[in-house]
């Protein structure tokens, strides 16, 4: 990618719905913490920021075992704020683009390569999987699919939290990541295969997905 890009991995949250008492970035999938899975897939990215909050020291220690050139950004208000706040903090003084992903998301390795090769803004989603999804409404124009809105009720794809945007657009907000993006819609769409881990059932599905080499199971 010719333009400068900062990758932001948001790992500040408490993972309450999972009920395991650990922040989700430290959750082991097939013997490997999620944060390490992310860092492995981002091996060739040179500008990585990890947002930490709950169990910050443990997340830092784990991430540093894999690579030592990460800039850690603190979201000390992780109890009161959403992932949007974490992204906004990390987007300040970043590269021209930020690529933002949640620490609790598994991405199909082949699809992540597609993400890393992308040199423009995008909002991504996939087939709706979870019980309470935020959906993406999209439209086609000259062979490109664009996201026109985020909705609870209407849309073809489920928003998965992965987006690449100009960093200057993403620096203010405390709620959801999509609320940072909304003023700038429409944005090109990118379809990705992912698994989000919010509940114990999600966790088991994600585990099966990884063990099956990211094939089929777990919908």
């Amino acid at each position: 990618m010719a333009v400068s890009r900062t990758v932001i991995i948001s790992c500040a949250g408490m993972g309450n719905r999972l009920g395991l008492g650990t922040t989700k970035a430290l959750l082991e999938i097939d013997g490997k913490p999620l944060i390490i899975r992310h860092l492995e897939m981002l091996e060739h990215e040179r500008d990585i920021r990890v947002v930490v909050g709950y169990q910050a020291e443990a997340v830092i220690e784990t991430a540093r075992k894999y690579r030592d050139d990460i800039l850690f950004v603190f979201n000390h208000q992780y109890r009161e704020t959403g992932t949007g706040a974490s992204v906004a903090l990390a987007a300040k003084y970043a590269g021209e683009f930020i690529l933002s992903l949640d620490g609790d998301l598994l991405v199909h390795p082949e699809d992540l390569e597609q993400v890393l090769a992308c040199d423009h803004e995008f909002v991504s989603g996939g087939e709706p999987v979870t019980d309470d999804p935020w959906l993406l409404q999209t439209y086609q124009e000259e062979g490109t699919e664009f996201v026109s809105s985020f909705s609870r009720t209407m849309g073809t794809y489920e928003w998965n939290g992965i987006t690449q945007m100009k960093s200057r657009k993403m620096q203010n907000g405390t709620g959801h990541v999509f609320q940072l993006i909304e003023p700038y819609l429409p944005v090109p769409f990118l379809e990705l295969r992912t698994r989000e881990i919010d509940t114990v059932n999600d966790y088991e599905r994600a585990l099966a997905w990884v063990k099956n080499d990211f094939n089929g199971v777990g919908k």
């Binding site: 910050a56 830092i60 030592d68 050139d69 800039l71 850690f72 603190f74 000390h76 003084y93 970043a94």
Partner: protein
Amino acid sequence: MSGYVFLFELDAVITRQEMLPAISRKLGIYEQMCSLTERTVQGELPYKQSFLQKAELLKKVPLSLLRRLSGGLPLNEKLAEFIRIHRHRCHIVTVLPDVWIRELIEKTGMEDRIFCSRASAEHDYIQNIVSILDQNTVMKQMNLPCVAVGAGNYDAQIIQAAEIGIGYGGVRSISPAVLASASHAVYQEEKLVEFLERLL
């Protein structure tokens, strides 16, 4: 341009080794020095008392020797270079007293841009610590938003007060108090300098 003023701890941020452990090892008083540090870390001894007791230990050492040893400490050269280039926007802030660190500060080229503790000296020996650096006083003198870089407990206050407070863990581990008040943490000198350049 951002307009930030940059404040750097000297010890274990600009220097590539922690000063007191490094020089006390050479002076044969490493165990005593470590015991004071340990008591401070455990919360048994307030930082200022610990500092004064460490100074007491070093009263028996000629200042010329102390200055030679501290002056021989290696610097984080990339960071030192950033400070030299942007010296008009940088300050060094350290609790270490002026009489111990003169040669070290000369190496940084920041003799006129340092806030530190002060000590009286006579016949090549330290007499008394005259004043201990007060971080609040330093921050009150800053008219512009600040970026502060530190590592130890003593740096936490200034890191908390700065607009951007960076814990640097490339030399020693970042203290829990700094982790609790910093906006950023970084563990590699190159990465620290890269981020500082974005803050210019």
